[in-house]
Symmetry: C2
Subunit: 368 residues, 2 copies
């Protein structure tokens, strides 16, 4: 598992003005490539297919940090013996409206998919359900699971902790994970869910790494250096610094507070542990919550009101003439539509990393 798997916002789709050396790949061959790499690493066909579909779905949504480039650390973890590619998750305990899914050290996407189905059924039976995931490794992009819950007519909430890279508000030690939170509800028929999925850190490490490689500075408020000073130099993170919680001067204590709650509840209910305390097992300590909308009001009425509200947001006056107000999740839905039509951009660096993996095969025809 990487230290910072969470991107705070989707990578802009640049297929219109692709830099030379970037590849555009259709989702189908990209999925076949991922299946081949995972199979070569020892995953049964069924596991490989599910994980590959999850990774390519993240690429389609523009969350490249959670896309096929994850194959590199996954294959590394399989080789290191920390990820069992053949493991099948199971429901370890289910009582009342609560359950625990044991990922058994396998792919987190499989554990999360099982947890999603379990929490969906619990919520339908009891009005609300909660499922924790133990031994789930890296569970991937949270929005995938809450979107599936929204499509089933539920309110879906998910969060997890992760390796400590983030300082508390007013501090400088790495004591918190990037601790993402996702939440989704259904819109009207034919519309994709309203969904949020963000790190409670101010920035994803993947973005910092990119800026560092380019020698660029980043805006203030994202990180501190090893002496706890505000920094705009991404290299300072790698030399003993820390990320900051999101919110900055306009609410850093709020981002910090959310991160602390996710660290405690995600880490302890799952059994993963609190990431900066002894005993943390290095996995995403994850919790999924689902509420059955139909237990409170007719689902159609909920969808109709939500759709009306979303349209009101979209039609509202933008602060800047050249922009528009977006409904949460709309950027990802647009990116998905665009990439389904035009292909998924892969940087040459990512391509080359993937090409070094056993089993890799992609048609070269699409590259620039």
């Amino acid at each position: 598992m990487d230290e910072l798997p969470w991107s705070t916002r989707p990578t802009p789709d640049r297929s219109g003005d692709r830099p030379v050396g970037e590849h555009l790949v259709r989702p189908e061959p990209l999925t076949r490539m991922a299946v081949a790499v995972l199979t070569a690493a020892g995953a049964p066909e069924r596991n490989a297919g599910a994980v590959a579909a999850s990774l390519v779905a993240a690429d389609l949504a523009g969350h490249d940090s959670h896309g096929v480039r994850r194959l590199v650390p996954y294959v590394g973890a399989i080789r290191a013996g920390t990820l069992d590619p053949a493991a099948q998750p199971r429901v370890a305990r289910s009582e009342g409206a609560g359950a625990t899914v044991d990922g058994r050290g396998g792919f987190g996407q499989l554990a999360a998919a099982l947890a999603t189905r379990e929490v969906r059924e619990l919520a339908r039976a009891h009005g609300v359900g909660v499922v924790a995931i133990s031994r789930g490794n890296h569970i991937g992009r949270l929005s995938e699971y809450v979107e599936a819950l929204a499509e089933a007519g539920l309110v879906g909430i998910a969060f997890c902790n992760a390796d400590p890279t983030v300082a508390p508000h007013g501090g400088r030690d790495r004591l918190l994970g990037t601790n993402p939170l996702a939440w989704a509800v259904p819109r009207g028929p034919g519309e994709s869910a309203v969904v949020i999925d963000f790190a409670t850190a101010a920035v994803a490490e993947g973005k910092l790494a990119l800026s560092a490689a380019r020698g660029e500075h980043v805006p203030p408020g994202l990180l501190v250096d090893g002496d706890g000073r505000d920094s705009t130099d991404p290299a300072d993170f790698y030399e003993g610094g820390a990320l900051l919680p999101f919110g900055g001067a306009a609410g850093g204590h709020k981002g910090y507070g959310l991160s602390v709650m996710i660290e405690i509840v995600g880490g302890l209910l799952s059994g993963a542990g609190i990431s900066s305390l002894p005993g943390y097992d290095g996995t995403n300590g994850s919790v999924l919550l689902a509420v059955d909308i139909a237990a409170f009001l007719p689902a159609d009425r909920f969808r109709e009101q939500t759709e009306r509200f979303c349209r009101r947001l979209s039609a509202s006056t933008p602060a800047h003439e050249d922009r528009s107000v977006l409904v949460p999740g709309e950027l990802e839905a647009r990116t998905r539509a665009h990439r389904l039509q035009h292909g998924i951009p892969l940087s040459t660096a990512t391509w080359n990393e993937l090409a070094a993996l056993p089993g890799f095969a992609l048609p070269e025809g699409d590259s620039t």
Copy 2:
């Protein structure tokens, strides 16, 4: 109900260097005064006592915006006929692990207290529970309810919508409430809960009003004027502007996303409605969630690990030498301890407003 009942952070305790004209009042006479005012306005003794205790608890925690100054709008609402001071809330529907509490147009604190008891019992019986509150008017300070859940060995989460005063990220129209979120878990024995309770707006209206009255400007990132331009002049809010979601440049889209989810789920599950759509009933559309920790791990183990983590946070290196890292909720706990010993400061403006209410009586001896 006021437009903006939510303070983003506690008022600093200034009893050490009180400005001339500020009053220091012990909690007991302050509670008696609140009971007398509420009783004079038509509340039965039992209702008056519960609401008074809730208001004074907010004052003790430093959240003066939710303290006894609320008596002024409450008495106004009773006179206007929008708040029934004698109403008793009831559980309108309970099925499986979900329930709805009907506040019956009475004091929101009473409905929220009943909802807190109900969700506690649901979580104990089923592992998790969810309760929505309808016709709850202004439900007061959310942290009171999630702290009570934490004290009962549960994870407590609460959120609600409110009158629209906040613009979407990238927009300028008032389409969202200040939509606060609260979340609490228990610490070790003898320690008060880890708790967050914040508006998803960048600033509380009460603070803006104070700055406006003093002719002061506020930091950037809190509001836009009627033309959607960033503003530091609080008067612009009152002349057609809007508050902004919290997070600013370091995560305004995250604060906005949270606010949208709370608006939809709080507004629709409760029946209050989405505040910027026709049909909104003007109340806090509230939802409480509780998870029974003991369904996942021994509660003692949870408390021990949480306590260890909190101490690790407290002992961590501050970014600035003259400050320290705080555990979420610690500032409020310190303020409570200090005010229990030294009294609750009331500004002369608040005192005078309260003194105009029928039934008001406070000993003058404590004033400066």
